[in-house]
Amino acid sequence: MVVSTPAPPSGAAVPPSAEWIFLNRFAYGPRPGDATALKQQGTARWLDEQIRLAAQPDPAPETRQHLDTAVLRIKYDAGDGWAALDEMRPLRTLGQPVDALWQLNEPGRKQPYQERVRPRMELAAATVIRSVYDPAQLGQVMTLFWHDHFSVNGADSYTAPALPAYDLAIRTHALGNFRDLLEAVATSPAMLIYLNNRSSRGGAANENYARELFELHTLGRDAYLNTQYDRWRDVPGALKGAPEGYIDQDVYEASRAFTGWSIQSGQDLGGYKAPSDGRFTYIEGWHDNYQKRVLAAEFDSYQPPQTDGHKVLDLLAAHPATAHYICAKLVRSLLGGEPSPDLVRAAAATWLDNRQRPDQIARVVRLIALSPAATAGWGARPKRPLELVASFARATGTPVTASEPLVGVMDSAGQKLYAWPSPDGHPVSDDYWLGAQNMRARWTLALGLAEGAWMPPGLAASAQMGPAAGHSGQAVAFWSDRLLGSPTAIDAGALLGGLDLDADAPPRVDNKTGEFANRRLAAYVAMSPAFQLR
């Protein structure tokens, strides 16, 4: 019988091993044996291998195989111009160039919303698969970091056809050079559509992209000095050609620099009609050609095509505020908690020293990963839902494939993969991730994965457990070791008490699957506070 008062928590005051922590930060959690292997190999060699893997143009064969065999349901009712559909369809849009998918977006073409935003669903599903199975774990972590940094809402039917190409662009440069990444984003149809630069023309330019380019993509909000200075020359350092930050005047001028950076979408260009395929194009006739001044640098009138925009990107990518802002965000995202100022300074120095190098970002990540802070401060940050899902699947061997309901529950747990509604990306704040609805959905994720709610048959628990399968106390210790890095990290008494189970008794077994209790015990360990942390 259950005791009515829970035993005081035991064991959990001891953090898991450094390797365990490291693999929860620079990968999507350890598989059985990974922590031991990392200890033998050493972090530096692990990083070399991960950086090498991330640079491969093609996914690893095992990743390829999982992506190739995945099918994702698509279902809709009959509508105006289309028949009802309910089918399991392979992931066909991944890696497709924008012109191959542009018809999803064609004006006047009648298509259900589910078809229009299919690329977002496929990319989200593929991301779950990759985060579980891809050997290039660090590349996966960094690709997601940049997707959030350069956030685009792909659940918007306009941006959706450009999303797979956008992912490829980000993936290619995720550990590469920031200036290259910045230009890949600036010329990507997804960003041009999302932040409206595609329609920006001289006369009254559209400021959306330029504004977020400064605030979110490069210099950062701390360098926005508009409440302090009205004129560019008043910004400290401006008269020496090195302004400390930016004001609205810089945004206005930069937006003029990007006029004419557009996509081919059937525009009437004065007797000439552009093709409609969504590809990047530069429309000279829309460009504001007169002189400009951005960050105290003068731009001459009538520069060659795209020179104005390139120059803005050069200035922003090279600015010390960009180095500081992005490095602080990287440290915070990878390690959690308040970033150490010394580490941020060191990372920013490495960032600036290597800004001409093709592996600039990898060098910065390496510095962070090899610092003592890399494995300090366990538990400072809650896992994001994808981290929760992937680390559970990796630790338990639960098979994962494409699933629309899984993506939906991750969504309601707060992580709207490729569908965050504003350009700032998901919040860093813990409060956001720990809302009541988000917590409830986190628990649903753990239980649903273990029990095969979305991907039958779910966790094959007993097969892995050996003698522990027949002993409730040992079963909890087994899953505690797998999921939390130590057999005593969870209060087994409290957990079993809730189930009215005696530690010495065998877990109750479901007659149909033979699994019910053991896999549920695994899920409960994953629903504990400790598994929410990284």
């Binding site: 928590p9 920006s200 508009n226 409440t227 609205d248 009541a436 628990w443 942390l533």
Partner: protein, 438 residues
């Protein structure tokens, strides 16, 4: 389907239903109540404040515009402003805000106009942050933290969380379901109030996965009362709060014979439309549960209209107007206790861009809807649109600090007289927006 009106449910019914569900005897925890907060000396008369945040910078000039102003007419194409004649003319507003200026309301805002006409809705023109930020994220954050500018040094202490959280600390809890956000996560407005709940939707209930077994396990994994084993106390506390919310809400929701949550039917007609409708429906349900709701924070996004604004804006105004009117009419039994106030981080540029949209501007508008509101009027001070009257020569100037309106609401509706804590560094001005009837 048998439908028990939500208004018939009172706190005792909820307690009964909880007991029937076994929740009250399910073990430690529930009784210790993450919900309960130390009471302050204030009388609890059940006042409810709803803060509706229009995220993205709502274009006031396209919502309530000076239709006959020559500068205005020159600055914008016809589909991005209010017209004083023709098929798409704006709704004329009875107002004496600025003599000779014909303020019109967007033609899709008919339902809102009806409330305005009835005198329950007041609108304050040219509100916002006094400073010149045109960053969404900076402006939203300052407004949610109740600040005018980022404080330096010691002044920054205690200002990280939201003003609504500090307000709740001051009001004290009553052991109920005190503060709710209809966003998926807790917004900055409520950060710092640990019992704040995020509940986007109640149409499918708020149950836990896995039934009674899971519930019993979670009760022990998230024991509350600071006993948790986690390294991060926020996680433990949030889990406890979510667990309590799930138990309370799920048991209290009326269900049909099939066990599904009964559809919500607003009284007095109308319909909850779109995301804003879903959110306001959730708040209406919670209010009708009489479970102690004091503050609800509702977000409505989609206002960042740099491109193709006319069509999108029309849809948003329609949804907002219809849903707000539905909400107000539905909750007629609660009018004496209910106040809803709207904010947006800024308005948009007076002059349209060449993408059929508008860029980040400055002055905005706030609406106050509630019992005791001296409505049917445009309030504040209209700064005018001549170049020298504009903020930085481009945008509608701010003439009323957004905190002035909020403080007036807090004073008249919640009895708050000390604003230092809620809005650090703020001293109410002498200008009385005359929002409320004496």
């Amino acid at each position: 389907m048998a439908f028990k009106p939500l208004s018939a449910l009172n706190r005792r019914d909820i307690l009964k239903s909880l007991a029937a569900a076994g929740a009250l005897t399910a073990g430690p925890g529930l009784g210790q109540l993450a919900f309960s907060t130390p009471g302050m000396a204030m009388a609890d008369d059940g006042r409810i404040l709803v803060v509706l945040f229009f995220r993205g910078g709502m274009d006031v000039m396209n919502f309530i515009g000076p239709s006959n102003d020559a500068v205005y007419i020159d600055a914008r194409p016809a589909d991005l402003r209010l017209l004083d004649s023709g098929d798409r003319a704006g709704i004329a507003l009875d107002s004496d805000l600025a003599p000779g200026v014909d303020f019109r309301l967007h033609p899709e805002a008919g339902a809102l106009h009806e409330i305005y006409r009835q005198g329950d809705l007041a609108i304050v023109q040219a509100t916002g942050l006094a400073n010149a930020t045109r960053s969404h994220f900076e402006a939203q954050e300052l407004m949610e933290r109740g600040l005018a500018a980022e404080p330096k040094g010691n002044a920054a202490l205690g200002t990280e969380g939201g003003w609504a959280a500090r307000l709740l600390q001051q009001m004290g809890g009553n052991g109920g379901l005190t503060a709710v956000s209809t966003a998926g996560g807790v917004p900055r407005l409520l950060q710092g109030f640990p019992q704040a709940l995020s509940i986007p939707d109640l149409r499918n209930g708020f149950g836990l996965p896995g039934g009674a077994g899971t519930q019993a396990v979670l009760e022990r994994l998230y024991p509350g009362g600071g006993q948790s084993a986690a390294f991060n106390p926020d996680v433990s506390r949030s889990g406890r709060t979510a667990l309590d919310a799930a138990l309370r809400l799920n048991a209290a929701l009326p269900r049909g014979p099939d066990g599904k949550v009964a559809a919500y039917q607003p009284e007095h007609g109308g319909a909850f439309e779109g995301d804003i409708g879903r959110s306001l429906e959730t708040v209406a349900r919670l209010i009708r549960m009489d479970a102690g709701l004091k503050v609800a924070c509702v977000d409505m996004g989609g206002w960042d209209t740099h491109e193709g604004q006319a069509g999108r804006f029309k849809g948003l105004i329609h949804q907002m107007s219809g849903s707000l009117a539905t909400f107000w009419n539905d909750l007629s039994d609660y009018h004496d206790r209910l106040t809803l106030v709207t904010v947006s981080e800024f308005g948009r540029r007076l002059r349209a861009n060449r993408s059929g949209g508008t860029d980040h501007g400055h002055g905005s508008v706030m609406m106050v809807l509630g019992g005791g509101v001296a409505g049917g009027r445009l309030l504040g001070r209209w700064p005018g649109l001549q170049p020298q009257d504009l903020d930085e020569r481009v945008d509608l100037a701010v003439t009323t600090d957004y905190r002035e309106v909020l403080a007036t609401v807090l004073k008249h509706r919640l009895g708050i007289t000390q604003f230092d804590t809620v809005f650090p560094g703020f001293r109410p001005g002498t200008g009385d927006p005359a929002l409320f009837r004496a």
